[in-house]
């Protein structure tokens, strides 16, 4: 019986398919039940209603977007204010800065007022300097060799760490991404834990090993642990595991060696992540304070980041210029590689 029904249904379907375009009926609906004039009027009223609704919706949407833009502008203004201040204030003359801000630092260091210099009672927040000079920069760059030395220290600490860590991390994360057996996964997990360890934990071992190796108080005490830090490995492995295995299989079938797969497939596909990580590492190590503070007792070897916090009153004028000069390299790198950075960060977060 079922069989018969099935055949019947199939027949119907076939016939229906064949005649689908020819057999159309005129169904009786609300619209067709109206007379011609009533229909016209109905259409008119409907048109008006839809237009009104659209307008209302447009207005509410506009208001909401306006609020959104306002909030976004507010938030980004808050984010940018400190940076702009530092930049613009660096073009003020030394006297202006001192007269504007000395009151701030006086209360901090607890000095009595120094008499002759004019001071405002509350600090004056100015975006635009009264007279624009680049005197601060010239004094900074040509009269104060100390700043330049610290700057050079920062560079010489940061660049080897970033370069070294990227090379080591590329190799290691390729290994973690390709060879996935139990012991390797355990090792990878211990790497993750190591990455999550705050400086408070890793600094003591760093200090001990530096002491044992006799590199304490040299820049190697910071560079070597920096190179083998596992932060980049974690993110890069996550990235490399997203490479479709078909690519690698195809390459293997074509007779590529592991090294060729690594250099010709894995690395180019991870280009964005590598750029992003380079930027992140650069800013992280350009910024470092803890390691030099503990591992380098010789102040002549310390980078500018530590030194900038120790600026005292007489050098107040120069401080803004020094801060600006210090933040130019990361900002330039950011403007150059923003897309890579955003892409790299976003891909690292998605599983």
């Amino acid at each position: 019986m079922d069989e018969f029904k099935r055949i019947e249904r199939r027949k119907q379907a076939t016939l229906a398919r064949r005649h689908i375009y020819t057999e159309t009926k005129n169904p009786e609906t609300f619209i067709t039940s109206l007379s011609d004039e009533a229909r016209e009027a109905f259409f008119e009223s409907e048109k008006k209603r839809i237009e009104r609704n659209l307008k209302r919706r447009k207005i509410t949407k506009g208001i909401i977007t306006g609020f959104g833009v306002f909030a976004a502008v507010l938030i980004s203004a808050l984010a940018l204010v400190p940076i702009f201040f530092t930049f613009l204030n660096s073009f003020m003359s030394s006297e202006e800065i001192v007269s504007n801000y000395q009151v701030v630092f006086q209360s901090m260091s607890g000095h009595a007022s120094q008499g002759a210099t004019y001071m405002s009672r509350i600090p004056v927040l100015k975006l635009i300097p009264e007279e624009v000079t680049i005197k601060q920069y010239t004094t900074l760059l040509f009269m104060n060799p100390e700043y330049l030395f610290k700057y050079w220290n920062s560079i010489i600490l940061t660049l080897p760490i970033v370069g070294g860590q990227m090379v080591v991390a590329c190799l290691a994360s390729y290994s973690f991404a390709r060879y996935r057996r139990k012991r390797r996964e355990v090792l990878f997990f211990s790497y993750i834990i190591l990455m999550l360890m705050p400086f408070q934990v890793t600094l003591v071992p760093n200090y001990m090993i530096a002491e044992n190796l006799g590199i304490l108080d040299t820049i190697w005490a910071i560079i070597l642990p920096g190179i083998f830090s596992t932060f980049a490995i974690f993110l890069l492995t996550k990235y490399m595991r997203q490479i479709p295995s078909g690519y690698i299989e195809a390459a293997t079938l074509d007779g590529a060696s592991e090294w060729q797969i690594f250099t010709n497939i894995a690395l180019p596909l991870c280009k964005n992540a590598i750029f992003a990580l380079t930027i992140l590492l650069f800013i992280d190590y350009w910024n470092m304070v803890e390691q030099p503070l503990v591992l380098l007792t010789d102040t002549a070897k310390q980078p500018l980041s530590v030194f900038l916090s120790q600026i005292n009153e007489p050098e107040l004028g120069i401080a803004f210029a020094a801060s600006s000069v210090y933040m130019i390299p990361p900002l330039l790198i950011f403007f150059w590689g923003e897309d890579y950075l955003v892409e790299g960060i976003s891909r690292s977060g998605i599983k």
Binding site: V204, I209, F228, F334, I345
Partner: protein
């Protein structure tokens, strides 16, 4: 049902009968290639199409019943043994070679990590049970007791934990909020994004000065407050119980951009169809967020939480640059404790402290991972 199939010649096609075209079976005795042209009426053709025989038993073996006889039995001949042996050897060789290759890639990193992190941690463990690094008398847990009863250590850990507990959820929630805001189709979205990412790139040391200008006793904030109302009380932001608030602001200022980019990416990867169909079914924006978006965002929330937690432990940098070695009481972080212990050269206490922190970190992270895996399995079901 595809009625284009040529039913008359079903049997001839190799892939339908499951017999390889080259094999003996497929060599049919030569059939007359001429098609028998029978003029049939439309009705008949339809009937034929509808009632065409179903392709049964497409694979020849499927209809046959297998008997134990059909399963080949390999005899234990010496040749076969040798062959198996060779195969196993090759397999082992290949595994060793694979292992060797990938271990080779890992070696530089592993050696470095071993020398600079794992071995020192073991050394640390050893030192934490000794009287002092030079005097290797075993003192049991005395160092741990000394650390755990130390007021400065307790204060520092309480401060660090309070800071993390308040600022990490704040960082996650605010970043999610901003990401949702930017995701509503604002004009100039990428511009805002790069504005918000900017603070991440600025070294703390550079903006410390401006934060001091804002938040010190005679600073701008107090000045503005005084101008707005005469009754405003001057607060010394960095040297009162408000100090942690200032540092939290600094932390949020620095980390919101990074978190926001992560959330934006996650929001973009939510399947559009699901959101649209939910909207069609009448789910409002609030319902859509809680029932759909939050569901898809949960792994990202976890990731952002972990990243923020790591960064919250790095906050010492900002505190140190703002306030120096000995800040106000509730800013005294664990790193201050460590740094100041370094100057006292009390290594055994220091290493006991580090081990305690290490264990606490492992517990926290392990708990988070456990929670995530449990949550994830919920999501999949």
């Amino acid at each position: 049902m595809d009625n284009r199939t040529n039913i008359e010649h079903l049997g001839e096609k190799g892939e339908v009968t499951g017999v390889r075209p080259g094999s003996e079976v497929s060599h049919h005795p030569e059939k007359p290639q001429t098609r028998n042209v029978v003029v049939r009426s439309e009705e008949e053709r339809e009937e034929a199409i509808i009632n065409r025989p179903k392709p049964k038993n497409v694979t020849p073996l499927a209809s046959q019943k297998l008997t134990p006889k059909d399963i080949p039995v390999f005899e234990d001949t010496p040749e076969r043994k040798a062959k198996l042996e060779l195969r196993r050897k090759r397999h082992i060789k290949r595994r060793i070679r694979d292992w060797g290759i990938f271990t080779g890639y890992l070696t530089p990193s592993f050696a470095g990590v071993l020398v600079f992190f794992f071995l020192p941690l073991l050394l640390l463990l050893k030192t934490s049970f000794q009287k002092s690094p030079t005097n290797s008398d075993f003192v049991g847990l005395r160092n741990y007791v000394r650390v755990l009863t130390n007021d400065a250590f307790i204060d520092a850990s309480v401060n660090t934990l309070t800071f993390a507990l308040i600022s990490v959820p704040l960082a996650v929630v605010l970043a999610l909020f901003i990401a949702l805001l930017l995701n509503t189709g604002l004009p100039g979205k990428s511009l805002f994004r790069s504005f918000l990412l900017n603070p991440m790139m600025v070294p703390v040391a550079s903006v410390v000065l401006i934060w001091q200008v804002f938040f010190s006793y005679n600073g701008v904030i107090n000045g503005i407050a005084a101008q707005i109302s005469e009754a405003a009380v001057k607060i010394d932001w960095l040297k009162s119980s408000y100090a942690q608030v200032v540092i939290m602001l600094l932390f949020l200022w620095k980390n919101l951009g990074y978190n926001m980019v992560l959330f934006l990416a996650a929001l973009n990867s939510i399947p559009h169809e699901i959101l649209e169909s939910a909207a069609m079914d009448g789910a409002g924006p609030v319902k859509r967020f809680f029932k759909i978006k939050l569901h898809y965002l949960s792994p990202t929330i976890f990731f952002v939480g972990i990243m923020s937690l790591i960064n919250s432990f790095k906050i010492f940098r900002e505190v140190y640059l703002l306030t120096g070695d000995y800040p106000y009481d509730n800013l005294y972080m664990l790193q201050h404790f460590m740094n100041n212990s370094f100057t006292h050269l009390d290594y055994s206490k220091l290493s006991a402290g580090a081990i305690v922190m290490c264990i606490v970190m492992i517990i926290i992270v392990g708990g988070l991972f456990f929670a995530e895996s449990k949550f994830d399995s919920d999501v999949e079901e």
